[in-house]
């Protein structure tokens, strides 16, 4: 059941009840499964808890990363579907943070029968404003360029990894272990590609097709997914519940893990 290809590729870790309902936690842009470490323990008493890294991040198989394939969110969603198949999961609660919430939306559209609930933490179906449809995502295209530039400007730690490229061989060998292991350290190229996939995405049309019941957790003062965006998502996602958290910022799973866990628990009806 486990130990398969996807399990290795996505660095899948399991805890909790072997025969419990599966609850899959997906990290968002910028980090890895460690983001859930203060949230998951709450669920281990009665759920089969599954965490993983998207390809290119954390302990995933970096050799499986491919700039072309992972240029769209659909590829990450396909990986989730593969994971669900390989581990033979049914009745899945999918908890996605940030962009992973849209990855969950796309995965549930591919395999609606496998997913029981979606929990979307700080979701945004589109980050860039769209004046044509009067949509406010919170960002302009120039802002996204600014993010990409900031990524470009912060690759000092990657000098060693880039040395082969500078020496004239752009096909870089496998990244050094210490870099793979450093927490939240992502290859600038992977970060750049995922940033584009994330912030240039537009999943508004997908929302209306979702049939899986969902919970939206909206933080206060979340610059990445502002309140208006959370409301938009709620209005366009049939059967969704919108819950406002006291937590501020974009990472309540780290800054307010207890609040996040209890919101999810009360939504799922097991407090």
């Amino acid at each position: 059941m486990t130990g398969g290809e996807v399990v290795r590729r996505n660095n899948v870790h399991e805890s909790g009840q072997r025969h419990g309902q599966p609850i899959v936690f997906a990290h968002g842009y910028g980090c890895d499964q460690e983001m859930w470490r203060h949230v998951t323990p709450t669920f281990e008493s009665d759920y089969r808890v599954i965490v993983f890294d998207h390809v290119g991040f954390g302990g995933s198989d970096l050799g499986a990363w491919d700039a072309e394939r992972y240029a769209t969110l659909q590829a990450y969603a396909a990986d989730v579907v593969q994971l669900v198949h390989e581990m033979d999961l049914v009745d899945v609660v999918f908890v996605g943070h940030s962009v992973a919430s849209m990855i969950g939306v796309l995965a549930s559209l591919t395999e609606p029968d496998r997913f029981a609930n979606l929990v979307l933490v700080g979701p945004s179906p589109r980050y860039i404003d769209d004046p044509r449809t009067d949509y406010t995502g919170g960002f302009s295209a120039e802002d996204i360029d600014g993010l990409l530039e900031t990524l470009e400007n912060n690759q000092l730690g990657w000098a060693a990894a880039m040395a082969p490229a500078i020496m004239g061989n752009a096909d870089r060998p496998e990244l050094a272990d210490e870099l793979q292991n450093s927490f939240c350290r992502t290859d600038p190229r992977v970060a750049n590609t995922f940033a584009r996939a994330t912030f240039l995405s537009d999943n508004r049309a997908d929302l209306a097709r979702v049939t899986t019941p969902s919970l939206i957790l909206q933080c206060a003062e979340d610059a990445i997914a502002p309140e208006a965006v959370g409301r938009y998502t709620h209005e366009h996602l049939r059967g969704s519940q919108l819950v406002y958290l006291k937590a501020t910022g974009h990472c309540p799973n780290l800054s307010a893990p207890a609040e996040v866990a209890s919101a999810i628990r009360s939504y799922l009806g097991r407090t």
Binding site: G28, Y29, G30, C31, E34, M35, R37, S98, F139, D143, I144, D145, G146, L147, L148, E149, T150, L151, E152, N153, N154, Q155, L156, A159, M162, A165, I166, M167, G168, N169, A170, F183, C184, T186, A191, F199, E221, D222, A223, I224, T248, G249, H250, C251, L254, S255
Partner: protein
């Protein structure tokens, strides 16, 4: 917050715990900013005010510290830095832009620590900002070095691809002397390496009324039929009305990009052609004419659809080079074909049908070299001498061109003339012919067998007992005998020197008695020579092919042997078989 921490003092001085503390806070070599849990600034030092351009009242209690950063920085912080800060307690040396009060961007290094109270609970953050123009420069250099390395890599790959195109094109053109075959292969190379589809026209300037020949290829086999139809319509139309072929002769290789439907509609009246353009895809093209001696001999059109990257100047340059090679090839292939046709005509005209002789049945065959590339100097002959003896000959002049064919005509004529005039022994006839050729300054080196069939007692008269075959061999492969039992034997006898080497060296005659039904086969070396195979092996195979052929007609005997051994010969083959009636 009920228990106001020291840093909550809203003065520029920040913590007021002690004057020492206050001094170090102010004199720290970097901008310091303290913020509460929501990011609201609660204290700044003078350096922070200095580098941001804001005053204390503008910052403290009013601004979120993240507002000091650009939006891009802020997104980076929210997605990548905040998780690390929350999990690890600090982040350090992050390259950011501080957006100053005047709107300028100041490169700075950002370090953030979580501030905790006595119980360990998080109270807020302390932010340090260090101006870092040099560090920015370093990052830029690093990035430039990487970009340059990647550009160099791409340039290398491109250069390699371009060389491979030229190599493949040259190989295709050199693969055959046949014009159509080679141009077909060139078209395949062009769609494999460069184009979505291509059409190559060849034009014969010496025959302007001849239809243009074309070959067409599409990278997608499903669209091959469509592209062939395009080429056919173009060739019918003649160049003038054509989108790509118009324009005066003499124009250079041309790059056409951004070919819009509009342009196509303007240039193309033909509805079918317009639909075909849709099917095969027309977005950009290179039209490359090939010239030889100032005349246009070919036009190569490579096209990419709108879905493919448009051709660029480098592609134009590459196609100009391919077209140059194509011109040289087409010209030489045409000249070769003409010369070859001339040689063939000459040779065929020199080889005459054998005479009909009551006592003997004679069959002759001549087949040109299999790849059509070579014209041989092989010949056969049969005539009757003044004394009534029949003479048969086979020979092979060295060389494989029109000169060899002409030389063959001369030596054959000399032997025939002497043989017809003087009824000598074969060795004698060959010596006289060799001397005559020397005297007439015919510089020919040839191998030959001259054989005389002597019939001392005419057929039907008492005492008739078959015939004598007497022959002399000037360096030629030996004759074979097939007896009436079907047994095939090589008539191996010592051979004399080649004709044209030394006319004074002695020549010898050999003889064999033949009875009715016996068959003798003369041939040239194309029948027995194969690469990497010795002559004895070739002779053995010929004997095998002839064995048992005593009962078939002489014509069938020749054909079956040529079928079995002659196919694929790189040389031409002459063959003469005689059978005693």
């Amino acid at each position: 917050m009920s228990d106001r921490a020291p840093w909550d003092d809203p003065s520029c001085g920040g913590p007021t715990q002690s004057s020492d503390w206050r001094r170090s806070w102010e004199s720290a070599p970097c901008g310091l900013v303290d913020a509460d849990l929501d990011g609201l600034i609660v204290a700044v030092n003078g350096r922070a005010c200095e580098l941001s351009g804001f005053t204390v009242p503008e910052l403290v209690g009013r601004k979120n510290w993240l507002d000091l950063l650009s939006v891009g920085n802020r997104m980076f912080y929210d997605t990548q830095l905040a998780p690390v800060l929350l999990l690890e307690g600090s982040i350090s040396e992050i390259m950011v832009d501080v957006v100053t009060r005047g709107g300028d961007r100041l490169p700075a290094l950002l370090t953030v620590d979580l501030l905790r109270d006595e119980t360990g609970a998080t109270r807020g953050t302390r932010v340090a900002l260090m101006p870092a123009r040099d560090r920015r420069q370093f990052e830029i250099s690093l990035r430039n070095a990487r970009d340059a390395a990647e550009r160099a890599d791409r340039a290398r790959a491109t250069a390699l691809r371009r060389l491979e195109l030229q190599a493949d094109a040259t190989e295709a053109l050199a693969s055959s002397t046949d014009l159509d075959t080679a141009v077909d292969r060139l078209a395949q190379v062009l769609v494999a390496r460069l184009a979505g589809w291509c059409v190559i026209f060849t034009v014969d300037p010496s025959d302007p009324s001849a239809p243009m020949r074309w070959t067409a290829a599409h990278a997608d086999p499903d669209r091959q039929v469509a592209v062939e139809r395009v080429a056919e319509l173009w060739s019918r139309d003649r160049p003038a009305s054509n989108l790509f072929l118009g324009g005066p002769t003499g124009r250079p290789t041309t790059l056409m990009t951004g070919i819009s439907e509009h342009l196509i509609d303007d240039a193309t009246a033909d509805v079918e052609l317009r639909a075909l353009y849709q099917a095969v895809g027309v977005g950009s093209a290179v039209v490359a004419p090939s010239y030889a001696r100032g005349e246009r001999v070919a036009v190569t059109i490579v096209v990419r659809g709108n879905g493919q990257p448009a051709f660029v100047e480098e592609d134009r340059a590459d196609m100009a080079e391919v077209a140059g090679r194509t011109g040289i090839f087409v010209d030489s292939a045409r000249r070769f074909a003409r010369e070859h046709a001339n040689s063939m005509t000459l040779q065929q005209s020199l080889l005459t049908a054998p005479p009909s002789i009551p006592a003997l049945e004679i069959a002759v065959r001549y087949i040109p070299a299999q790849d059509g590339a070579q014209v041989g100097g092989d010949w056969y002959d049969a005539f009757v001498q003044p004394d009534g003896a029949t003479v048969v000959a086979i020979g092979d002049v060295m060389g494989h061109d029109i000169a060899a064919a002409a030389a063959m005509g001369q030596i054959r004529g000399i032997i025939r003339t002497i043989g017809h005039t003087i009824a000598g022994q074969p060795s004698d006839t060959l010596t006289r012919a060799d001397l005559a050729a020397r005297g007439l300054q015919t510089a020919v080196i040839a191998s030959a067998i001259l054989a005389r069939v002597e019939d001392p007692v005419p057929r039907g008269e008492p005492g008739h007992d078959g015939v004598t075959l007497r022959w002399s061999n000037a360096g030629h492969p030996p004759p074979l005998l097939v007896t009436t039992t079907g047994e095939a034997t090589v008539l191996a006898r010592p051979t004399d020197v080649l004709l044209g080497v030394d006319p004074h060296r002695p020549r010898h005659d050999h003889e064999v008695r033949l009875t009715a039904g016996d068959t003798v086969v003369l041939y040239t070396d194309g029948l027995i020579e194969r690469p990497h195979q010795d002559i004895d092996e070739g002779l053995r195979r010929l004997a095998d092919a002839l064995a048992g052929k005593h009962a078939v007609t002489l014509g069938s005997l020749c054909d079956s042997v040529l079928d079995r051994l002659g196919s694929g010969s790189r040389d031409d083959i002459a063959m003469l078989a005689l059978r005693v009636r």
